[in-house]
């Protein structure tokens, strides 16, 4: 099994979710995160004091998928999350030894 982790722009979440559904990914977990990168941040000013805000809102998607699907999932995320503007984010793939569906105790491919 592989874990696909993607950091994307928040407003692309719906597109990515829809694209993943199309290729049969039925489950994922998302988190509101903050990203630091080349995109840079912005400044805020409160009573004349400037604050540099380096961390921008991003959404993190995790999906555990079959080894064979990993490539597809990766590509699908990349193409559906892309806006061609800086800050689009990253996707990475890492190994998973085992996965269990809590409700049924099913393991491996059946659990995702």
């Amino acid at each position: 099994m592989k874990l696909i982790t993607a950091i994307i722009k928040p407003h692309k979440l719906d597109d990515v979710k829809a694209a993943l559904k199309t290729i049969g990914v039925d489950g994922m977990t998302v988190t509101e995160v903050r990203g630091f990168g080349r995109q840079g941040g912005h400044t805020e000013t409160y009573r004349g004091t400037e604050y540099q805000v380096d961390f921008l809102p991003k959404v993190r998607i995790e999906a555990v998928v079959d080894d064979l699907d990993a490539g597809d999932v990766l590509d699908t995320i990349v193409s559906s999350a892309r806006t061609d503007k800086i800050g689009d984010g990253k996707v990475w793939v890492s190994p998973v030894d085992e996965i269990v569906r809590i409700r049924t105790g099913e393991r491996g491919a059946e659990a995702v």
């Binding site: 407003h11 998302v30 509101e32 959404v59």
Partner: protein, 415 residues
């Protein structure tokens, strides 16, 4: 009615109307996030439906005629009120008292938090208003004979209730207990914790309640005179004393001064001074506030031993606080400049007033508990009053209202 009185009663009406939303925020902040809109809605619902019922039926039944048990239908559907009838003199009272009528069932909502079907609440509110609030109000404030004296049977016996300690707080407090008995506990209570989801919202509610309460207590005398001033001052001092006493009690008992303690204590002090506001003077409001703060700070703990899931402590704050204030009238009542009524024990009166205070509250408690219990039992058998387990777990905001309180996420995930 002269211009000053008109202006004053209208301002007081606006203040009292502002209190029901205040209560909504007070309760909603204390509730968990996923039920916080349901809590708001239960309160706002009361502010919508009660004024309509009141205009159409309630006011006439609660105040009309000269009976001893219930009014009549002479003013039903606003007939004989309004500018055409008497230059608005009865209409301003209808509005002012309608604002009191609206907040009373709202008080009960704190007890049934997190588990009542909203449709059942929607029906309960007008029923309770007509079947419980209206008769109790009549007994204490209703009916007028040819000389302008009250004819409601509790009033004629001689008990005192300036702005609704018995008629409103004890009444709603005991009804809350009945509701808890019928409805049962929340899943996971008491093991699971229910910390307030937003203390700032609680404090916003507290601020509005405090502000509005000046209209509640100070307008109740109906004139812009010394009694209004004294009632206002008493309200100010009792709120401060109540908050101070509760906060100090918690500091000693649990080790910290808490915001929720301050808020609860202010409300307890305000509840307790409500029946007494126009009947006491001098340092009495401070004693009443201190007493309410300490007693209620302990009273809210009793639900655990009693096993009653009175979620937001309606019984411990409103019934107990109302009783404290109402009974202390028997000690502190100070006629003379304030008017012509029985003196309290400490001001040279006998035990008679204390006894009447006791009777009025006992009667209210028995009646309100019984009828509230009956209403809810009937609703439970007909439409069901308890949300399904799934709805309770999901949260009532989504299940009853298809809304969520906060959507702070940048993405389209709801929050």
């Amino acid at each position: 009615m002269d211009g000053a009185t008109t202006a004053w009663l209208l301002v007081c009406s606006a203040l009292v109307i502002f209190m029901t939303p205040g209560l909504a925020f007070f309760y909603s902040g204390m509730d968990r996030s996923r039920n916080s809109l349901n809590m708001l809605m239960m309160n706002f619902w009361s502010l919508l439906v009660v004024p309509l019922v009141w205009a159409v039926l309630g006011y006439s039944l609660a105040f009309g005629g000269s009976g001893s048990l219930l009014g009549n239908l002479d003013s039903a559907f606003l007939s004989g009120t309004g500018i055409g009838a008497d230059q608005g003199e009865s209409l301003v009272w209808l509005v002012y008292l309608g604002a009191f009528a609206a907040i009373t069932p709202a008080l009960i909502s704190g007890a049934v938090a997190d588990r009542m079907k909203f449709s059942a609440w929607a029906v309960f509110v007008p029923l309770w208003s007509l079947l419980v609030y209206v008769p109790v109000t009549f007994w204490i404030y209703g009916g007028t004979d040819a000389d302008g004296a009250l004819t409601g049977w509790l009033a004629t016996r001689g008990s005192l209730d300036f702005a609704g300690g018995t008629a409103i707080h004890v009444n709603a407090g005991i009804a809350a207990l009945a509701a808890v008995v019928v409805l049962g506990r929340r899943k996971g209570w008491p093991s699971e914790g229910h910390p307030p989801h937003s203390m700032p919202l609680v404090m916003i509610g507290t601020a509005i309640l405090l502000f509005g309460w000046f209209g509640f207590n100070s307008g109740a005398g109906g004139l812009t005179d010394g009694v209004a001033i004294q009632a206002f001052a008493n309200t100010f001092l009792a709120a401060a004393a109540g908050g101070f006493a509760w906060a100090l009690t918690e500091r000693v008992k649990d080790g910290h001064f808490t915001n929720l303690g301050v808020a609860s204590g202010m409300v307890a002090g305000l509840v307790a001074i409500t029946p007494a506001a126009g009947f006491v003077s001098g340092m009495s409001p401070i004693w009443i506030g201190l007493a309410a703060g300490v007693v209620c700070a302990f009273a809210v703990g009793l639900k655990f031993s009693a096993g009653f899931d009175d979620s937001l402590d309606v019984v411990g704050v409103h019934m107990v606080g109302g009783l404290v204030g109402s009974l202390l009238i028997g000690l502190f009542a100070n006629p003379g400049a304030l008017g012509d009524f029985e003196a309290g024990l400490l001001n040279g009166g006998g035990a008679g007033l204390l006894l009447e205070q006791f009777i009025a509250n006992a009667v209210t408690i028995v009646f309100s508990f019984a009828v509230t219990f009956a209403i809810l039992k009937v609703l439970d058998l007909t439409m069901g009053i308890r949300a399904s387990e799934d709805d309770e777990l999901t949260g009532l905001d989504v299940s009853q209202h298809a809304e969520t309180a906060y959507n702070l996420a940048e993405s389209t995930m709801a929050r």
